[in-house]
């Protein structure tokens, strides 16, 4: 065992961070992000284990099954870098890093899925679509900028937090209240979605009805149709089925001579 103290350099962390963007490059059903995790950790392992045999053995060890939310994988990468550093200095057992990965990937996966996929992304998406509907050509930027500023900041911060806290997920959650923010984002998203429909009279002409009706009628009929569609989805309809259903209804109305 290596008893000499070795430390991961800042440049190694930069490389790990950049490689973490490719963690899903070889995503598979069987091992999911396993290869990506080993790939991202390579700079750290190379630094800590100059002995080729040991390096290869650690690399193979990190090719075990791994799956988490890709952004928060950086927290686990930081935590595992810490564990490997301890191991290289003779302070930890061979299984420390593996058991840490196994313990962290599921809770961080659930946390990240709820916050990023279920909170932040739909919120900025609904804001962006609302901007598009009212005719803002820069709406894609309104979607991309807040999302990426937020997510890149958290992604980089999580790597540092993972390393400094040695994988203390409670410290991470105390610093970044993911669950609370996810709930707020979801509520805000629903409010903006309602607002999008309330603004229907101001939508681009392509999305507006050709009928000359008061704005209040346009807005309320939009709300009613949306609620009916949501109820249909609740009864087991899928977006694809409802798309086809809407096309069929549109066709029926067009053949009946009802121009909307």
């Amino acid at each position: 065992m290596n008893t000499q103290n070795k430390y991961v350099h800042r440049s190694d962390f930069v490389r790990v961070f950049l490689r973490s963007f490719l963690i899903q490059a070889s995503w598979s059903f069987e091992r999911m992000q396993s290869l990506g995790f080993a790939y991202a950790l390579q700079p750290v392992l190379k630094r800590l284990y100059p002995d080729t045999e040991e390096y290869r053995s650690r690399l193979n060890r990190h090719m075990e099954y791994f799956n988490t939310q890709p952004y928060l994988a950086s927290f686990i990468l930081g935590a595992v870098a810490h564990a490997e550093e301890d191991r290289a200095a003779g302070l930890g057992g061979a299984s420390d890093a593996s058991s840490m990965k196994n313990a962290l990937m599921a809770p961080l996966g659930a946390l990240g899925d709820s916050f990023f996929w279920g909170g932040l992304k739909p919120l900025v998406s609904v804001i962006g679509v609302t901007a598009l509907l009212i005719g803002a050509w820069w709406a894609p930027l309104l979607f991309l900028l807040p999302y990426n500023i937020g997510h890149l900041w958290l992604r980089a911060g999580a790597l540092v937090w993972g390393y400094r806290s040695a994988g203390d997920v409670v410290a991470l959650m105390a610093h970044y209240p993911f669950m609370r923010m996810a709930r707020r984002f979801k509520a805000t998203c629903l409010a903006v979605l309602g607002g999008m429909l309330g603004m229907a009279p101001q939508w681009r002409p392509e999305f507006k009805t050709a009928l000359h009706v008061p704005g209040v009628v346009t807005a309320f009929s939009g709300l009613v149709i949306t609620v009916v569609l949501a109820a249909a989805l609740r009864k087991g309809g899928s977006p694809v089925k409802l798309m086809l259903g809407l096309a069929a209804v549109s066709l029926a109305l067009a053949f009946a001579g009802v121009g909307l």
Binding site: Y39, G118, C189, A191, M196, M199, F207, L229
Partner: protein, 259 residues
């Protein structure tokens, strides 16, 4: 209008190549959301000379698929291919400036593409399992180089998946456009109406997935606030959006503290 001339062929290949590159963002590289319909729709439209068509496709498809989350082994619908192919079919099929009917038809075709994209994505991900075995079986001095190669090979598979699907979907869609242009006027009117209804379907999908109530109180609150500001006070759209965001967020805070 000649749909399959050399120029169109080159443009289709260029769009498919761009789609393959930007499609990597979905799973394989970064997840910077460059592959979302709201981004790739307008970009494709702009590249083909009709950004408006791309914006309409992007706005219509974004909400439909935004909450189709890649959780566990679930492979979400590839809305990127839908947005790019839908826009390209509408713009190329119209010869430059797509009418609303053709945009609607392009979007409708994406309903047929979605299940196929999921199947092919599943095949690629199954194929990727071999890459781990490839990396594990490598011995000797080059073990870590082989790991890198095996891992990055996954990028090629993901790229080829999107590239080839675009190469199939766009020409097939252009053939369908040839039939569509021969259809009677009600078909064209129907597609215009279809486009107008799609944002409502998108809103229903998001509302359904984010709330267990059919008429969520935040949703209703946002609707009333925006409608009052727009219809009674004739407030500018930007002010309404900002007000609804702030009101929604602070209402959520209020609920947190009082429940």
């Amino acid at each position: 209008m000649p749909v399959f001339d050399l120029h169109t062929l080159i443009v289709v290949i260029a769009v498919a190549f761009g789609g393959g590159i930007v499609g990597l963002d979905r799973t394989a590289v970064g997840q910077l959301m460059l592959s979302q319909p709201i981004v790739v729709g307008p970009l494709t439209g702009w590249f083909l000379g009709d950004a408006t068509a791309g914006m309409i496709v992007g706005a219509a498809l974004e909400l439909l698929w935004v909450l189709d989350m890649p959780v566990g082994t679930f492979v979400p619908a590839d809305a990127t291919i839908g947005a790019i192919a839908g826009t390209a079919i509408a713009v190329l099929g119209s010869g430059g400036r797509a009418g609303l009917d053709l945009v609607g038809f392009g979007i409708l075709l994406t309903a047929g593409m979605v299940p196929l994209t999921m199947i092919v994505d599943g095949v690629v991900r199954k194929r990727n399992s071999r890459l781990v075995d490839e990396a594990l079986s490598s011995t000797g001095e080059n073990a870590d180089h082989k790991l890198t190669c095996a891992h990055l090979k996954g990028l090629t598979f993901f790229f080829l998946k999107s590239f080839l699907l675009h190469l199939i979907f766009i020409p097939a869609g252009l053939l369908a456009v040839l039939l569509f242009t021969r259809m009677s006027a009600p078909f064209h009117d129907a597609m215009e109406l279809f486009v107008k209804l799609l944002p409502l379907l998108g809103a229903a999908v998001v509302a359904r997935k984010l709330s267990i109530e059919t008429l969520d109180r935040f949703f209703l609150f946002g609707f009333i606030l925006a409608a009052v500001m727009a219809l009674l006070f004739h407030a500018p759209a930007g002010i309404i959006v900002l007000s609804v965001i702030a009101a929604g967020y602070f209402s959520a805070l209020y609920r947190e503290r009082h429940t």
